[in-house]
């Protein structure tokens, strides 16, 4: 009796796992939080039968994860366009983009070209653009009406009401606010280091004014939402999300220029389901799908025609925060050369351990 039951259980278990493995074609997506909205995942599943399994990450962790497995474990990743070239040269994390499998017509051509150029390694492009935005200031205008530049993050006027991330965008922003151009010094390690030493000194001098260094987007939004923080460095999409909840809070393009980034699609070197990766790219870049993403997360995409399908509030956001002069003033990240990370890493350690 017992043996019979055991046999039945085992066959049932085998059948279950068997059917599962047939059904479950999955796409392992390594991306930022919110980059694969639920309605789009469901729509994709209905169209193609592919499950999208999402792992949240950020630029640094994406590189570390893929480096640990030499580019295995994920079918598609979404690093920023400036963090691909040098990493690819050194660790060979990604495979070249096969443009014949991509519907080029879906993209805003200038952006496609820019990303193609910036991720070129050995004559082959390694990424296509997905969405773009900028880093700048998120300000509670009622409580800090005069905050206008990165230097206000170090301003004693806002003591205890300031927050930023202890990561490289902050260093770059502060450097621009000092009237310098860190991007122009990318190619000269010595000069870059001298500039970063100055940035370090001012970050340490202003450390007392910081409430906390935020570590993830939700963390930041919560600090601003509760009114604990009045001036923060953050992404435009986050600022506009808060603006919808509380009109006092808004994203501001700093006077020394917002920092423009483009997040991309790149296929890891040992991706298992490459065809699903291309399917997802061609799916999410369709204007109606890209518009769903933009309406929910407030970030603009590189999808041609999606802008016409987005809500009126999205356009209003952009016009409010980016008058023409501010658009011209955006500093777009060029590819980060190797060896800068080491300088910055040590600097950030010193700032964090300073009293």
């Amino acid at each position: 009796m017992f043996k019979k039951m055991l046999g039945a259980v085992i066959t049932a278990a085998l059948m279950l796992t068997g059917t599962n493995s047939i059904q479950a074609e999955t796409l392992n997506l390594l991306t930022w939080k919110d980059y694969a909205p639920k309605p789009l995942k469901e729509k994709f599943k209905a169209e193609t039968g592919i499950d999208v399994k999402v792992t949240f990450s950020n630029n640094e962790e994406m590189i570390a994860k893929l480096r640990a497995t030499r580019g295995a474990g994920f079918d598609l990743a979404q690093p920023s366009q400036d963090r691909i070239q040098s990493v690819q040269e050194k660790y060979k994390l990604y495979q070249a983009m096969d443009f014949s499998k991509i519907e080029k017509g879906l993209f805003i051509q200038s952006m496609l070209k820019a990303v193609e150029k910036n991720t070129m390694v050995k004559g082959k492009p390694h990424a296509v653009p997905f969405c773009w935005g900028s880093s700048g200031l998120i300000v509670n205008k009622k409580l800090a009406p005069n905050a206008s530049d990165y230097s206000d993050l170090l301003n004693a006027m806002y003591a205890g009401r300031v927050s930023y991330r202890l990561k490289r965008p902050t260093l770059i922003g502060i450097a621009f606010a000092m009237g310098d151009d860190p991007f122009a010094k990318y190619s000269n390690v010595k000069e870059y280091k001298m500039l970063m030493d100055k940035v370090e000194a001012s970050l340490i001098a202003g450390k007392g004014f910081v409430k906390n260094y935020w570590t993830n987007g939700d963390n930041l939004l919560q600090l601003l939402r509760s009114g604990e923080v009045h001036v923060a460095m953050g992404w435009d999409g986050g600022g506009w999300k808060l603006h919808a909840e509380n009109p006092d809070i808004d994203f501001i393009a700093p006077t020394s220029g917002a920092l423009g980034w483009i997040d991309t699609f790149a296929i890891p070197a040992k991706a298992k389901n490459v065809s699903a990766a291309y399917k997802w790219i061609n799916f999410i870049m369709r204007p109606e799908n890209a518009a769903v993403f933009t309406n929910q997360e407030k970030y603009a995409t590189a999808s041609k025609g999606a802008a016409e399908l987005t809500d009126a509030s999205i356009k209003a956001n952009f016009q409010r925060s980016f008058p023409q002069a501010a658009i011209d003033n955006i500093n777009w990240y060029p590819p980060v050369p190797a060896n800068l990370e080491k300088i910055e890493g040590k600097l950030l350690d010193r700032v964090k351990s300073a009293q």
């Binding site: 590189i63 570390a64 910081v210 260094y213 910055e344 964090k352």
Partner: protein, 285 residues
């Protein structure tokens, strides 16, 4: 017969050996090799001690380690000071029928992950949090104060997250302490103080030491609590290892830090065992 038994022994030993070798020894060998390699000025990987020299040469690194170790010792001591009365109360004071329920209460918070517990504390302590709200309502405070992001909050969080690992060994060791020993001590003219220091603590020493080792190691290797509750001033040594791997892309330096953490913390525990005159084999039983 003898041959048969040997086979059985080997079959049961195999998983243990595989576990130890594949999941513990092998990765450590890889890390050890990595820690002795570094990039020279031309970007070439070479062999050498540079990563270890870096630790001792750069004050922020070893100072962070010293800070982490001292705070871990403080946390261990505090968990002991709080854990001993709790364990004593559960094993000796309340009646036997509540013992199970009380032990369960101590266990209960550990059914959710550390992350959830830490966020719980953050909701309570933040400037717009529950505690501040209550203090403002009752008029005890005129203005909310930030209770998070300082060392005191961080130590409290660490004590809370590791408390269980002190209380459980103490309960098991105090369970075997005969009540008659305490009664006899009082009969012979002892007071609460001398009973505590001459009967209970000496008897419970193996439990105290094994609890302390676990708490110390867990605290030293903690990443979440110092990072989330400690905030801007809380550079913990584990975070430095993380930064080397993730932010600086310097896995070699990170491996060296990992090994230094292993060696230095083993050294501290060895010293602790020597000072308390305990023997590791006895303590871990």
């Amino acid at each position: 017969m003898k041959k048969y038994r040997n086979w059985g022994f080997f079959i049961f030993l195999l998983p243990v050996l595989l576990w130890l070798f594949l999941l513990i020894v092998l990765p450590h060998i890889d890390l050890l090799i990595m820690s002795f390699r570094f990039e020279d000025d031309y970007g070439e990987l070479t062999w050498g001690m540079a990563n270890y020299k870096e630790f001792f040469g750069e004050p922020i690194y070893w100072l962070t380690f010293v800070r982490t170790a001292i705070y871990s010792l403080v946390v261990t001591f505090l968990t002991f000071v709080i854990g001993l009365p709790v364990a004593f109360f559960i094993t000796k004071v309340v009646s036997v029928k509540y013992k199970g329920a009380l032990t369960l209460l101590v266990l209960l918070p550990f059914w959710v992950s550390e992350l959830v517990r830490v966020y719980g504390w953050m909701i309570l302590l933040r400037e717009s949090g529950v505690v501040n709200h209550l203090l403002l309502k009752t008029g005890l405070l005129a203005k909310p104060v930030e209770m998070l992001y300082n060392d005191a909050a961080m130590i409290m969080g660490l004590v809370y997250t590791t408390m269980l690992f002190m209380i459980v060994p103490l309960i098991s060791v105090l369970d075997s302490l005969e009540d008659e020993l305490i009664e006899a001590a009082f009969d012979l003219g002892g007071n609460a103080r001398s009973v505590l220091f001459r009967i209970i603590i000496p008897y419970a020493t193996p439990g105290i030491v094994s609890g302390s080792i676990v708490v110390f190691m867990l605290t030293l290797g903690n990443y979440l609590t110092p990072n989330l509750i400690g905030g801007k001033n809380s550079l913990w040594f584990t975070e430095q290892i993380y930064n080397q791997f993730i932010a600086s892309f310097n896995w070699n330096q990170g491996s060296a830090f990992g090994f230094l953490l292993l060696i230095l913390s083993s050294l501290i525990i060895w010293l602790g065992l020597k000072v308390s005159k305990q023997n590791l084999a006895k303590v871990v039983q």
